[in-house]
Amino acid sequence: MAKPMHPTPNLDQLESGPWPSFVTGLKRMAKDKDYVVDILGHLEHSYQTRKGYWKGGTVGVRGYGGGVIPRFTEIKDADGKAVFPDAAEFHTLRIMPPAGMHYDTKTLRQFCDIWEKHGSGLIALHGQSGDIMFQGVTSENTQPAFDAFNEMGFDMGGAGPSVRTSMSCVGAARCEQSCYDEAKAHRQVLNTFLDDLHRPALPYKFKFKFSGCPNDCMNSIQRSDMAIIGTWRDNIRTDEALAKKWFAKHGMNELVNDVVARCPTKAIQIKEIKDVRKTADISSVALNDSQALEIDNKDCVRCMHCINVMTGALATGTDKGATILVGGKRTLKIGDLMGTVVVPFMRLKTEEDYEGLVELGQKIIDFFAENALEHERTGEMIERIGLVNFLEGIELEIDANMVSTPRMNPYVNTIGWDDEVAKINAKKAAA
């Protein structure tokens, strides 16, 4: 039995309603833990005064510079004593999950045992960077708790100006739209940069995210410094049985309104089967005895919409890999930045392909480490120095796929134009 509960009139109101309640969960743990009794008191105080009361500090584990998020209470009485003494320290351990966030129940139960013993018992699955967040541990128990997770084969995630914990989608494990082995790429890339992940020494944070197709379920284009988004170069595959099944169920109106009309580049047409073009870049599939869908793959931008609607009837191609985009991040401080293309297509099939991806990551991180200002993200650095300087620094060739339009202003010295043209022509001749 723990000490008596603090009154929590605000939090109590978050126990009603149908959605699972974190307050009910905390209260259950508070029955045997003074720690959680005081966490509830601490949180209720925030609800009453509408302010936060945790300050950071320095807490870590041996050998690592990051991964623990230290929190010390700022709710003190007139003598400087913690009002909620059992919750005076409420640190979080960030632990990296397996790629795709898969678990067996034995592992989850072991996590629970460790966190019940050493910490508060509160676990967030998962944080926005993709970590398992073991929330609520004292400074004293931080090392033993980490040791226990590390014994299980789990390691600390990133925090501070470092390579951060990554995320990858369910991908090849369960999704037909997967265009590479997301988990393999995720693990191979991240485990190359463990020193940069565990010992923060970069100008600012650096995030990788891995999505298996352009649906980008990991939101990599908006929230990662290096986004690896699966795609394909060859034709959309088709399956006549599934296409006919879809058409029989949904009919022509839905086909026209939801599929053909929503293609962003008008690459899809409905044709009489006899009129379907037979050229190499055409995918087609019969919908019934007389009509077929015709897709001109040269016009297709691999947006995924038609494949999402007609899953199986239409499918990604087989010449698969990824588009690499760099520099995504949210607002502060120069405004939102999307990742932008630096590699239109990188094949990801062989071991060498995956090693190539790791090498590119290495070059980008090295360039970022040397050239970014303090607290400047990769996208902000590129905005400051220009994409061409960045590409030259990481030894990537320019490509017209990297822009949405060519230059719109004349403010540039083009004295080197002829040399550039000569280089491009020489390369064409050699190819």
């Binding site: 129940t105 995924m304 199986g312 939102d336």
Partner: protein
């Protein structure tokens, strides 16, 4: 004879093992059909049915969680996975849990057990999925509001929309407790919007803050070093200050959070998928909502109103951003009844690109 004195135990050496291999944690069907899936369908909301090129099948049942889970809840989910599924689970990016089963007949009893235990089954397809969120007052050092509580109050209201697939397309929500927006881009996002410059505790600045770093952190160069009451401190040009709060993390004595003047803003139209149009950033459509713990009714009213309007007016497969692309912003404000104020006209760098440089006007 004296017993040998035990040597002091050497500290355990950390194994820098990195991201673990996920193969031991994959459902056997995932291993057998890795990279070889053919298609999927959704037999009912909350259930995915995947079929591989070999004809193998797996059913996934998705359920909502509170994300911030006590160990009892996780153990309960493990019991369900062991007794009604096959001992393997995974989590989605929106903190939903997924249970995988090899046979269709296992689906109904699994759903029944989840719902009996208080976990709503849904979150698939064109439903309103769980809110992607942050830490808030529970754990963050700079929060303007709570996260888990806001999410609980929102999901209570949207419970039926989570369990049904009745929206025009999927709806992603997020909440964030400061303008850093850790919750991320979403179809509808709730984000703190401060409306007063930081209150500076000049006694503390010199001891706590690295002043040049703080000066450099300000996006509008409104902060300068100053001597206040004989102490080195910082001062803010309040006319320039945009109340973003960027100075607060590196300098906690520059308190930006305020119980009254830290308001909540609503943003719409973020989309990370490349499907149809290119990915989009979300846009602010409402602000000035009170930080009204513990249930934030004013925020829920605006979010509910936007969702109802979208649900009634958008065509199949239109995400919120696609819908607004079709109807136009003036009609978005007209249909939702939200006031279009001068604060919604962007004046940040590059903002002229957000003005209407055409005569395209819907009358």
């Amino acid at each position: 004879m004296n017993a040998p004195i035990p040597a002091a135990a050497a500290p355990r050496k950390t194994v820098e093992c990195g991201v673990p291999d996920n193969k031991p944690y994959l459902h056997p069907k995932f291993i057998a059909n890795y990279g070889n899936w053919k298609y999927h369908d959704r037999p009912r909301p909350g259930v995915l049915h995947h079929v591989s090129h070999t004809g193998d099948q797996v059913w996934t049942v998705r359920a909502g969680t509170q994300r911030q889970m006590d160990h009892y809840t996780i153990r309960k989910l493990c019991d369900i996975a062991d007794n009604f599924a096959e001992g393997f689970v995974r989590f989605t990016i929106r903190s939903n849990i997924e249970f995988m089963v090899s046979e269709e007949k296992q689906v109904a009893p699994l759903i029944a057990e989840l719902e009996k235990s208080g976990f709503p089954v849904g979150g698939t397809g064109n439903s309103v999925s769980m809110v992607s969120h942050t830490q808030g007052w529970l754990h963050c050092d700079i929060p303007g509001t709570d996260a888990s509580g806001v999410v609980k109050s929102m999901m209570d209201e949207l419970y039926e929309e989570f369990k049904r697939e009745e929206m025009p397309n999927r709806v992603h929500l997020s909440t964030s407790c400061c303008e850093i927006n850790c919750g991320g881009q979403a179809d509808i996002a709730v984000i703190i919007q401060h409306t007063k410059p930081p209150k500076i505790n000049h006694d503390m600045v010199a001891n706590v803050c690295e002043r040049p770093t703080v000066v450099a952190r300000c996006p509008v160069a409104a902060i300068r070093p100053a001597l206040v009451n004989g102490k080195p401190s910082l001062e803010v040009d309040e006319k320039k200050c945009i109340c973003c709060g960027a100075c607060y993390p590196p300098c906690p004595p520059m308190q930006i959070n305020d119980p009254e003047y830290s308001k909540l803003a609503i943003w719409v139209g973020g989309k990370n998928s490349n499907a149809r149009g290119k990915p989009t950033f979300m846009k602010m459509v409402a602000s000035g909502l009170p930080n009204n713990a513990p249930r934030w009714p004013e925020v829920n009213a605006v979010v509910g109103n936007i969702l109802r309007t979208y649900k009634a007016d958008a065509r199949p497969w239109e995400r919120l951003s696609d819908w607004i692309d079709r109807i136009g912003w003036p009609r978005f404000f007209e249909k939702t009844g939200l006031p279009f104020t001068k604060y919604l006209i962007d004046d940040w760098r590059g903002s002229r690109a957000n003005l209407n440089a055409s005569t395209h006007i819907r009358f």
